[in-house]
Each structure stands twice: as structure tokens, then as C-alpha cells.
Symmetry: C2
Subunit: 128 residues, 2 copies
DNA sequence: TATAAAGTTTCCAGTGAGGGGAGACTCAAG
DNA sequence: CTTGAGTCTCCCCTCACTGGAAACTTTATA
């Protein structure tokens, strides 16, 4: 199967699939006589796996690690769980940070009249 | 005042201050005879303002806009408030997205034994 | 069969917001 | 006078792609 069909099956842009091949994340299983990348069902599954992992916010290095665990039938589920837990901790940290940011900004916005006069607690707040 | 002192006062890396000058976000008020950038108190205030705005997650374009409002003594507070409200809406959207991600991943992790056996609902979940 | 359209290839360049470092210059202190 | 710190410009690197150009292959149509 050519890259276009593979991309469609994995719901990824062609450019992205090519990029994943280039960085050795998901390689095509070969090349045609004319140089076209050829993908089989196994490669498609890996592409889908990566697409979904990326959508969960895993970076490429984490995807690489997850993919190796995905491919390794003898790995322990604890290995995967540890990666997931680390990612959840990252997400919690990010969520906390964003919540604080949101509340502080919201507080500033609430105290701003938002009218035609120039006094603005938001600007004052940002000026420190 | 030289760039090093200005950077220290604004609590920004020198590289960042130089970058802000390069993109015309916060320009030094002149150059010395030998070519050193020179910053005055007004430039320092702008640097601090940008540093704080960036820490609130505003991008460079938004900082540019906020800075012009900061400099414009005749602007209406409503103009500022609108920018802040848009940023809050962005933050809310991002928060919602991250919360969903976190919960879904957490759910997967909870259903994984995390032991020495290879069965792993996380991998299965990521595989779709 | 000829040709046009679509698909694919490689390579180059850019994104946001700087970071790292090289090599040259300037300034202040000892 | 020298040394060390500060600064200058210039270039490449990041991350995860995205876009475009020019050349090639494959497929569909006339």
C-alpha cells in the first residue's frame, strides 16, 4: 500500500507519515521498484497507535518508548503503567498551572470596568 | 544602561532581551558609540510588562497588542478587557481539553494491573 | 496511444520563542 | 598592559511538523 492510502487509514497527513518514516518512528516495510514507500497492515497499526498516543499528548520520544512496548509482547504492564503515570503527573502539573493562570487573569478582568475610560487594572496588574 | 543590567532588572535572559529588540517588541532607546544597546527606565518597564504578560501565557502577537495598549494613555479599558477575555476563553478551552485527556488516560491506567504480566489495557487503549 | 491528472519522491525553508556557541570587539580593574 | 567580563553579530539547533518546488511514476481519460 502506498503512503497516501496508509495516511488515510491512519488518519494522518501524508507529510506526517513521511516524517515518521524519516525519523525512524514508523518505517515503511519497504520500497517499490520506483521508490514508493510501501506500508503493510502492521505498519498501519503502528501509525494508528502513534496517532492516538500523540493525541494523548505524548511526545515523540514517549511514542517511541510506547511503541517499543507495544511491539514487545514480553514486556510487563508495569512498564507501560509507569509511563502513563508520569504523563498523568505532567498533565496534573500543567492543569494546576493553567488553573492558577486562568484565575489570576480572570480576577484582573473582573476588577476592570471594561468601559470607555483608560483606568485598567489588567494593564496595572500586568505591569506588576 | 547596558543589556545585561536591563535583563537583570526585567528578570529575563540577555538572549531574550536581544530577541525582543530584534523583532521590534521592545527596542533599546539607542546604541552607544561602540554599538552597545542602551536601555532606559521606560524600556525596563516595557520589558517587565512583557515578561509578566508572557508568564500569563500571552503570545508575542498578544504582547505586542497589550504593549501598545499599555503605551496608549487614551485607550479604553474595554479594549484591554476584550483581549484578556479572549485569553481566558482560550485557557478554559485548553483546560477542558487537558482535563478530558487526563481523565481518559487515568481511566486507562486505573484498569491496568501494573504487574509483571504483559496484558495492558493502556496499550490496548492507545491501539484504539 | 497520447496526454493529462493525481500521486509520490527528494530537497529546502519556515514556524514560536528563543538557546548555545564561535569569533571579534569593548570596557573596567588591577 | 593584561586579564576578565560584557557585548556584538552570525549561524545552527530545538519540536513536530507544514508548505512549496521540481522531477518522477502511476492511473484515468480522450
Amino acid at each position: 500500500m502506498n503512503i497516501g492510502e496508509a495516511a488515510k487509514r491512519a488518519k494522518l497527513p501524508v507529510k506526517t507519515v513521511r516524517y515518521y518514516a524519516e525519523i525512524g518512528l514508523v518505517s515503511p516495510n519497504g520500497r517499490s521498484a520506483s521508490g514508493y514507500r510501501e506500508y503493510d497492515e502492521i505498519a498501519i497499526r503502528k501509525l494508528k497507535f502513534v496517532a492516538r498516543s500523540r493525541s494523548f499528548g505524548f511526545g515523540i520520544p514517549a511514542c517511541r518508548e510506547l511503541l517499543s512496548l507495544f511491539e514487545d509482547r514480553s514486556r510487563e504492564s508495569a512498564d507501560v503503567k509507569n509511563i502513563a503515570k508520569a504523563r498523568i503527573a505532567e498533565l496534573d502539573e500543567k492543569l494546576l498551572e493553567l488553573r492558577l493562570l486562568r484565575d489570576e487573569l480572570s480576577h484582573l478582568a473582573d476588577s476592570c470596568a471594561g468601559n470607555a475610560r483608560p483606568d485598567c487594572p489588567i494593564i496595572d496588574g500586568l505591569a506588576g
